[in-house]
Amino acid sequence: MGLNKKDFTLLLIVAILCLFAPFILNPFPEGSAMAQFNAGYPDLMQRLVIFGIFAIGFNILFGLTGYLSFGHAAFLGVGSYAAIWMMKLLTMNVIPAIFISVLVAGLFSLLVGWISLRRSGIYFSILTLAFAQMSYSLAYSVLTPITGGETGLQPKVNDPRILDGALAAGETPRANLFGLQMNQSYEMAVGNWIFTFNAGYYLAALVMLVAFYISIRIFRSPFGMMLRAVKSNQQRLNYTGLNAKPYTLAAFVISGMYAGLAGGLLVAMDTQVGAERMFWTASGEVVLMTILGGAGTLIGPVLGAGFIKYMENIVSKINKSILEQWFAFMPDGIEDLLITLVYPFIGKGWHLTLGILFMLVVIFLPGGLVEGGQRVGRLFKRKKSADDKPDGKTTPAE
């Protein structure tokens, strides 16, 4: 496949993780106290991989060229709108929807990138932010006929859908892949465990693997080397007589298409769109994911996206009574103290935890989780050479 051995192993690991995610994310039996840490339900698993795609795409721009875009959610939103219109007009099959979302987001990012890339540094960030905020405001106000405004869009029973046959009475339009419905799941019960295999998740995971493979190829290609050169010293690149703009613009459009792909998949899994997914906090979130995981590394953005989406779902579910359960074994005074200390960080306080975590990563670990993994790995290696003791710990690749 044109990959060297290390990259192939990495791709294989990610593929295996995706394949067995319903098992890996569901390690605790149903009904046990730890069951709330299970993440093996379709909605969350879909989000994990879809935002993984979004972050992989963002990383191609930010990680390779160093251009910090604060407006990538706009491309995700535009892709979503394009996909939902395909579903309303053409067919509920997800293939045309996903295809058109990539195309439209690519065109839109070509326009935005062509203008924004005339400047660099903070000016570039502000320009992309301005475009994203404009798209958001317009989607909310003037473009309501196209975007549905505050209510958003969802497929209706009486939409034209020229390729689909007429719906039976009482039937609602559902996203499908040649008849295989996206929300269709197969549940497997093993003892107390229930594992859910969801059609939509596997489609999204497959798309993510392809996206990940393309990203590896871009990282290892001469084109990727040029992008890195832009990051390390654009001036020197210009002095050698090269125009960096076509390269950065290509990177921008590719990452915009990735965002559109993520947007289209979001619609394929959950057939509705609202303008709020274009708000600038959504753009901020993908920045957080990429940095937290490790910008400029292959696996980092996927890790970051998975970590944030998992924690967001799990930490926000913990409430006071669960905390009381956990700390019940302690003496009363200490228990109360611990609960008051921990309480602000859980449930609704998830964003506080995220903010603190993010600051810590930027301050102490600029390379993100990947760098953290490498540091731990080095620590073990040093120990090994000193004591010559084998240990079972494996170091993360890349």
């Binding site: 540094g121 932010l129 404009m134 317009l138 106000s141 903010g355 930027v362």
Partner: protein, 343 residues
């Protein structure tokens, strides 16, 4: 004509807020060279200083009022603010009524303190890191500050009224000789504009006419040389950070009667303020103030009915549109200096 004056007036209060925040942002950028994404959070904390003070002032204890009876005939319990016990009822009421202006005194030390803590504790370590890192860490800090405020004050806007004397509106048009009732303007917005003008004037005067300001300006122009002259420029820049934080905080305090403070108001203003700074020209103080008022007024002109008829939705995007045009045609902004932030 009267419609134009009305729109200019309407733009002034928002423009004042933009100008004050952008001024602080530019002060920090010009002195320390740090892009501070947490500046909007400082604006928000300022607003919550006003909320906090008005809560402190209305702290009450319950007493049994023998003169009033409830429907069962028992003496009624009434809440009496502690401030009545200290100053008596009339003065106490007046103090509670004037809580927002009094908060200025309360907010200055708090904001300067927060500014010092931020600079010494966090931003100091980011001078040598790339701008992207500075943006990211202050962005994280902004999230943390806003979530802390949300934890203590809840997610809903907290109405904080202006003093009674300024609560109404007045007929500005009649004063200028137009027909009555064409230009109605709330008192507090005029107060806000005057206040912003005073603060901006004070900051400029401080930089222009004091020795301290002179040294700071010299440091902005050439930090290294000033350091070589044996002046501890870092200390002065830290103080400037405190002042910038106080300016943002005061802008927030006085804004509370116009817009009830909520925890994400800072972020809402921050995005626009950055646009203002960039339009004005990175590192130019007068550019920031000018662009602030200009964009505020433009925004209010864009929301006129006659404009909206021809260009629907323009009021939502005018600021961003202007920013894009300015950045592409005048890359340094309106009054930007050469060599600032031009990688």
């Amino acid at each position: 004509m009267d419609a134009i004056i009305l729109q200019i007036l309407n733009g002034l209060d928002k423009g004042s807020a933009y100008a004050l925040i952008a001024l602080g942002l530019t002060l920090i950028f010009g002195t320390l060279g740090v892009v501070n994404f947490a500046h909007g959070a400082l604006f928000m904390i300022g607003a919550f200083c006003a909320v906090t003070l008005s809560r402190i002032l209305t702290l009450s204890h319950t007493v049994i009022d023998e003169t009033q009876k409830d429907f069962l005939g028992n003496p009624l319990k009434v809440d009496v603010p502690y401030i009545y016990d200290i100053f008596g009822q009339a003065t106490g009421d007046a103090i509670i009524d004037w809580a927002v202006p009094i908060s200025i005194l309360f907010a200055i030390p708090v904001m300067v303190g927060i500014g010092f803590a931020m600079e010494r504790g966090l931003i100091k370590h980011f001078y040598k890191r790339p701008h992207a890192d500075q943006i990211l860490v202050t962005f994280g800090l902004a999230i943390v500050l806003q979530e802390i405020i949300k934890y203590f004050y809840g997610a809903n806007p907290i109405p904080t009224p202006a003093p009674d004397a300024f609560r109404g509106s007045f007929d500005f048009g009649a004063m200028l000789g137009f027909d009555p009732n064409t230009i109605i303007y709330p008192y507090w917005r005029l107060v806000y504009f005057a206040f912003a003008a005073v603060i901006i004037g004070a900051v400029f005067a401080f930089l222009q006419f004091t020795t301290f300001g002179m040294v700071v300006r010299a440091g902005m122009a050439d930090r290294e040389t000033v350091g070589l002259l044996g002046i501890n420029i870092d200390k002065r820049f830290t103080i400037m950070f405190g002042i910038a934080a106080a300016v943002a905080g005061l802008a927030g305090v006085m804004y509370t009667p116009i817009n009830s403070p909520n925890y994400h108001m800072g972020m809402d203003f921050l995005v626009l303020s950055f646009v203002v700074v960039v339009v004005g020209g990175m590192g130019s103080l007068s550019g920031a103030v000018l662009a602030g008022f200009l964009l505020g007024i433009l925004e209010s002109f864009a929301s006129m009915a006659i404009v909206l008829e021809t260009l629907p939705g323009i009021n939502q995007i005018i600021i961003y549109l202007v920013a894009i045009i300015i950045l592409l045609t005048r890359p340094r902004g309106l009054m930007g200096r050469k060599g600032v932030m031009e990688e």
